[in-house]
Amino acid sequence: MFWKRFYGVLTARNLEFWRDKEALSWNLIFPLVLVVAFAFLFDSDDRTLLRVGVVGAEQVEELQTLGYVNQIPYDDLSHAKRRLEQHQLDLVVSPMQGAYWYNAQSSGSALAAELFLARTVDYQAEQVEGQALRYVDWVLPGILAMNMMFSCLYGVGYVIVRYRKNSVLKRMQATPLSAFEFLLAQVVSRIWLVMATLVVVYLICHAIFNFVMEGSYWLLLLLGLIGSVCIAALGLMVASRTRSEELSRGLLDFISWPMLLLSGVWFSLDGSPIWVQQLAQIFPLTHLIDAARAVMFDGAGLAAVLPEIGILLLMTLVFLGVGAYLFRWTGDGR
């Protein structure tokens, strides 16, 4: 009986979404337009700063006086070299090893290498090569994750509040349907739609831009699934009790905008203050995007992204637990 009731709500919710052509096309067109727009607007390589990765130290003294050099500390040399190969860094310096690496295929890197040579001695030069990571490659996981975030938060959270306000939930309550069955169907319906959108948008964009993909598509799909469950659960938590569409919109904005700005959707947080990087760790989107980029650009396997998966699953449990505890069909404690 559980499955029959669950399937009933799932089918109805899917029909509702499928027949709402305006929402459906918006869900597909919005991320496509964003990806294409960002590819053409921001893909010129005219950064004024040189970005230097420093391995095993905070700063290279010799470069400190130069205002236009941005030094980014790395713990892991291979990670930094990977960024250099992808033209995300102009130079990698390891003061402990007394070596530096540059990418001969990048004009910025050649410039940085000359500059570094002029100001230092005793450093050994090493060369790397690699396919440049365009901004559109880099921003794609962010845009897809952002679209997923909005779709999950508003498609689950806002819809439930609307159902509660216009008494759809009250009618459902007066049947044998349990809150769990109803909410699970809402989440599953939304996730299946989000994943389908994700795949369609990725395939269309891939046909245009031929994205960099070093890792496994299956792992990327798994990450998308876990991430969307987590954010849908967050939407459920927000929608657990209120009848006010205004309040829920405010709460969802309050959650989504900081994530949009600080989860690394548009720009890397590598060079930002440490407290910003720490703050970003509270957002599920940060972990999702970090893991997705690791898979896509560094070819990370399951083991490498397991910590991010663990954090996302833990967050999901917390959101679901709190949401289930607070949930009311009719709201306002009634």
Partner: protein, 296 residues
């Protein structure tokens, strides 16, 4: 009178320190149509929503078939709220499919569709139904599980006269299948047409309870005679001294209609505009509370 299907003892609901339902004791026999009557704000909807399990009472107990209401209650009862919305973009047939999946033993689809006359509406978006059509669909949802007890909260409010009569016919057919119907209404004619037994609510308490006809017989004798005030010139005749002024009419409760009419003619009072009516539940409510049933 059969065994009670639904019983309450001391049922109470408090909002902002005020008891909107106050120590209510109800015994609703199985197999009848029971009406909860009262003006807006009397506590009808609060009462019925506590009985439906939607609102949590602040005091008292509710028993369904002699036992406290437990799990499985919604498999056995059908509910039609005063205001209901359904998920957007669904056709009538989709809505029927959705609700049929909620129940262990739903009525056969064709039987339900025929019962509520939904044959021609199946492909329509439920948001484009007329008031009467929508109420028929909502009734079909409430009847989906072939319930023993059907709750109807002001089901015909806002319907045109024809749609109301059609809906009454449906309620009678439910009743004729041996179901119990619990109905709230502020339309007295609806209660008179449908209900075997009524409880009149005012300010959260029951002020009268019984069969409509028995209640009227208990409180009124004979008929009500109404004559326009303008028909009287000078002082009122002695036999009309107890008449009450109701708008432009003087109203007298007459035990013997024939003799009262004779006396009026003898006194030379014109009978133009005269009305003779049996007392109805509106009159009863006015008599019991001193204010109109439909007043706010």
């Amino acid at each position: 009178m059969g065994e009670s299907i639904l019983t309450t003892r001391g049922l109470t609901k408090i909002y902002n320190g005020i008891a909107v339902v106050d120590q209510l004791d109800l015994d609703i026999p199985a197999g009848i149509c029971f009406g909860l009557l009262g003006p807006n704000g009397a506590g009808k909807t609060t009462t019925i929503e506590m009985l439906e399990g939607i609102l949590k009472p602040d005091g008292g107990e509710i028993y369904y078939q002699g036992a406290p209401v437990g799990t499985g209650f919604y498999q056995k009862v059908g509910i039609q709220f005063q205001h209901t919305a359904l998920p957007d973009f669904l056709k009538v047939s989709d809505v029927l499919n959705l609700f049929s999946r909620f129940y262990d033993a739903p009525l056969p689809r064709d039987e339900l569709i025929a019962w509520c006359s939904l044959e021609d509406l199946l492909d329509r978006d439920h948001r484009k139904l007329s008031g009467g059509q929508k109420q028929r669909l909502l009734l079909a949802l409430a009847l989906m599980n072939d319930p023993d007890l059907l709750f109807l909260d002001e089901p015909t409010t806002g319907l045109d006269p024809q749609a109301r009569r059609n809906f009454w016919e449906l309620v009678r057919s439910v009743r004729s299948r041996g179901k119990t119907v619990l109905l709230t209404t502020h339309y007295m004619d609806e209660a008179e047409q449908l209900c075997d037994q009524i409880a009149v609510l005012d300010k959260g308490t029951i002020i009268a309870e019984g069969a409509p006809r028995a209640l009227l017989n208990q409180h009124f004798h004979g008929a009500l005679i109404r004559i326009p005030v303008g028909n009287f010139q000078g002082d009122l005749p002695e036999f009309f001294a107890h008449a009450e002024l109701q708008g432009d009419f003087l109203q007298l409760q007459a035990t013997e209609v024939d003799s009262t009419l004779g006396e009026l003619m003898q006194a030379g009072i014109p009978l133009t505009g005269l009305q003779v009516e049996s007392a109805n539940l509106d009159d009863l409510f006015l008599k019991l509370t001193g204010h109109e049933l439909r007043g706010e």
